[in-house]
């Protein structure tokens, strides 16, 4: 909102994601933003754009399917938001009903494409832009589901795990370029449209809070951020539980 600092040029893949929007709202309270939203549904993107404009953000959108692997995202971004990009936010994904996915190879492939293949390809394309610029931040929405395969949600989890590993590899590779920062955000269960069908328990966090904590992690350039932070501890414990015991649980 303040005009003394230059705008943070931001590109969001999955522009209608509730967590992405919450991150942008938190960011907009702190500094001025120029945002390009990329997503599939023009009407929804328009609502998000209007909301951001009301919050003082210079927002626009481009209608395209982030899971389309044939699109040259570098060209799309350069055309729609020329100049240096300070922040790429890769937020698209879907949480499928696992039982249905396990019955149907095509749906399985589609889930892996939306949650791993496509974000992996887009993240790598964004990283090339950052390398060219010599600076900037890429934040990717991972998930606590990626830390250990659990019987109830391992298809989605494995995609997020792949993404996590890919980003860790990129961080390793870019260690000589400290002005480039890659942030893996691992939200726990968050109250968003994606989880609307799940019964809400005490572990659920609001999208607003997840957005605020994620924005803090992004602005600090934290490599791997669990949001809220206590999930790090929960997952550490879950990963340490011996298989004999773990397999008896219904997680």
């Amino acid at each position: 909102m303040t005009t003394d600092t230059p705008s943070l040029n931001t590109v969001v893949f999955g522009g209608t994601s509730a967590i992405a929007r919450a991150i942008l709202c938190a960011a907009a309270r702190e500094r001025s933003l120029r945002v390009l939203l990329i997503g599939r549904n023009a009407q929804r993107l328009q609502s998000v754009k209007d909301d951001l404009i009301a919050r003082g953000v210079a927002a626009d959108f481009h209608c395209a399917d982030p899971s389309d692997l044939t699109i040259d995202w570098d060209a799309v971004v350069q055309a729609a938001l020329p100049g240096r990009i300070d922040l790429f936010l890769v937020a698209h994904g879907e949480l499928p009903e696992q039982e249905a996915v396990l019955q149907d190879a095509r749906r399985l492939a589609q889930t892996l494409q939306v949650n791993f293949l496509s974000p992996a390809v887009i993240a790598s394309s964004c990283i090339r832009v950052l390398q060219r610029q010599g600076q900037g931040t890429l934040a990717v929405l991972g998930s606590v589901a990626g830390d250990r395969g659990r019987g109830s949600n391992f298809v989605y989890g494995s995609a997020k795990a792949g993404l996590d590993t890919l980003l860790e590899g990129w961080r390793h590779r870019l260690v000589g370029m400290p002005a480039i920062r890659l942030v893996t955000i691992k939200p726990g269960v968050t109250d968003t449209p994606m989880t609307a069908h799940l019964p809400k328990g005490p572990l659920f966090t609001s999208a607003e809070k997840v957005g605020l904590l994620s924005w803090k992690a992004i602005s600090k350039g934290v490599p791997v951020a669990y949001v809220p932070g206590w999930w790090r501890l929960v997952l550490a414990v879950i990963c340490l539980v011996p298989r004999k015991i773990f397999y008896r649980t219904k997680l």
Binding site: M1, T2, Q43, V48, D50, D51, A54, P193
Partner: protein, 440 residues
């Protein structure tokens, strides 16, 4: 369709109901015309006006985007699920404030309009309905209607305070007010008796924008009907406003689970009221307060209503007209003190003359008394019958947004504009409140 449990704020009633979550403004509703439905925001209505059994609950909290904000003229258009808290976060740093605000900022805009809520400045600003410029309704027949003062006027006046019964409110456009500061000059003045309250109220009406009185409904004898008169004005000097202007913070405390039913018993409530009264010296106290503790003291504790335990609590809010004077209030205070039912939070406020466009709007010129009572079953309900008789005799009425037991006869008598309202009701919308009071 998924089934979920819905509670009202008093937690005396709850329903298990199929639910439809709205995340984006719908063009049409994916429900057939025969399905009864009701919008549910944050569930801050105390009684059953926000619940519908045997139908579909439409959750609107996901409709939480702004549509436009003109920061020059202070005109804000927002989806119905946007909260007052979210609005303040946006507008306060830019020198604007809500035209009026209730005692919590955790209500949705749609719910605020549907209940035509009022605040501490009612004597000057009227209800929220006085500040609505336009709104859009989605009806069960698939039509969508934009209305405002002078445009589809009947539908507009029916929707303001219409308890969500005239269609789904999609968005609302309100006029904000300029505020010179986020801080207020506040005065706290102890009083004893309703007459003293009236004197303070008359004296403060002109010079003070925000007035309210907390009152001890448990004291008998010499302390009978004692209370603390609270009045505040936004500061003119911009104290503490070096940009960015300070906005409220999220709640610091949270009641993690339902406390035992006996937590609020007559002793603990008496002790609380005694301490609350005596924290202010006889000569009164002046202070400078941020808007957050001034308007929203209870918002600091997330889920405060859980202190009432599993059985929940009732809220009883009445308004008795000016002409009836102080007598009905004294009678009610006496009935409460005698009953031994402990009211933890009792609030008195003088309503002003500014009329709301809403047909079923609750406030009217006179004095409103709001009381909380832990649900003790029959004995609590008996007290309400006594209070009902006093309100009825004074030609007063009760607040539907807080009610869970008023009779159809009292509703009809209290709201003469009901006949004008009925043709505007969307036949597919209903609530448990409406099922109880609607003329058949």
């Amino acid at each position: 369709m998924r089934v979920d449990e819905f509670q009202s704020w008093g937690r005396v009633q709850s329903v298990r109901s199929p639910c439809l979550d709205l995340w984006w403004l719908p063009d049409r509703m994916p429900l057939d015309a025969a399905t009864k439905r009701l919008a549910y925001g944050l569930g801050r209505s105390y009684g059953d006006s926000c619940l519908l059994s045997g139908g579909v609950m439409i959750r609107t909290a996901g409709l939480n985007r702004f549509i436009s904000f003109d920061s020059e003229r202070g005109v804000l258009r927002a989806e119905a699920g946007v909260t007052l808290s979210g609005i303040l976060q946006l507008v306060v740093p830019q020198g604007w404030f809500l035209p009026m605000t209730p005692g919590t900022r955790f209500v949705t805009l749609g719910g605020a309009v549907a209940n035509d809520i009022h605040g501490k400045n009612h004597h000057r600003a009227g209800t929220i309905g006085c500040h609505v410029r336009r709104l859009r309704l989605l009806r069960s027949d698939g039509s969508s209607l934009e209305c405002g003062p002078g445009e589809n006027d009947r539908a507009f006046r029916a929707a303001i305070g219409g308890l969500g019964l005239t269609g789904l409110i999609l968005w609302v456009e309100i006029q904000l007010v300029r505020t010179p500061s986020a801080w207020l000059d506040v005065e706290l003045i102890p009083f004893t008796g309703v007459k003293e309250f009236m004197v303070l109220s008359d004296e403060s009406a002109k010079a003070w924008e925000h007035t309210v009185a907390w009152f001890d409904a448990t004291a008998r004898g010499s302390g009978f009907a004692r209370g603390i008169y609270i009045r505040g004005n936004f500061r003119a000097d911009g104290l503490g406003d070096r940009p960015p202007r300070k906005v409220h913070r999220p709640p610091g405390l949270r009641v993690p689970f339902l406390l035992p039913n006996w937590t609020l018993n007559s002793l603990s409530v008496k002790a609380f009221n005694f301490l609350y009264f005596h924290r202010v010296p006889k000569s009164g106290r002046k202070l400078i307060q941020h808007y957050e503790p001034f308007f929203y003291p209870l918002d600091a504790v997330d889920g405060w209503s859980k202190i009432y335990g599993r059985r929940g609590f009732f809220q009883y809010q009445s308004v008795t007209p000016e002409e009836a004077g102080v007598q009905p209030l004294e009678e009610m205070a006496r009935a409460i003190a005698l009953s031994g039912e402990a009211s933890f939070l009792a609030v008195l406020k003088t309503f002003g003359p500014r009329p709301s466009p809403g047909m079923l709007s609750f406030p009217k010129p006179g004095i409103t008394l709001a009381l909380d009572f832990p649900n003790r079953g029959a004995s609590t309900l008996r007290l309400f019958d006594t209070l009902d008789a006093i309100v009825r005799a004074a030609k007063g009425r009760l607040y539907p947004g807080k009610d869970s037991r008023m009779s159809a006869a009292d509703f009809r008598a209290g709201y003469p504009a009901l006949t004008e309202f009925l043709p505007e009701v969307d036949p597919a919308f209903s609530s448990d409140f409406w099922k109880r009071v609607a003329p058949v």
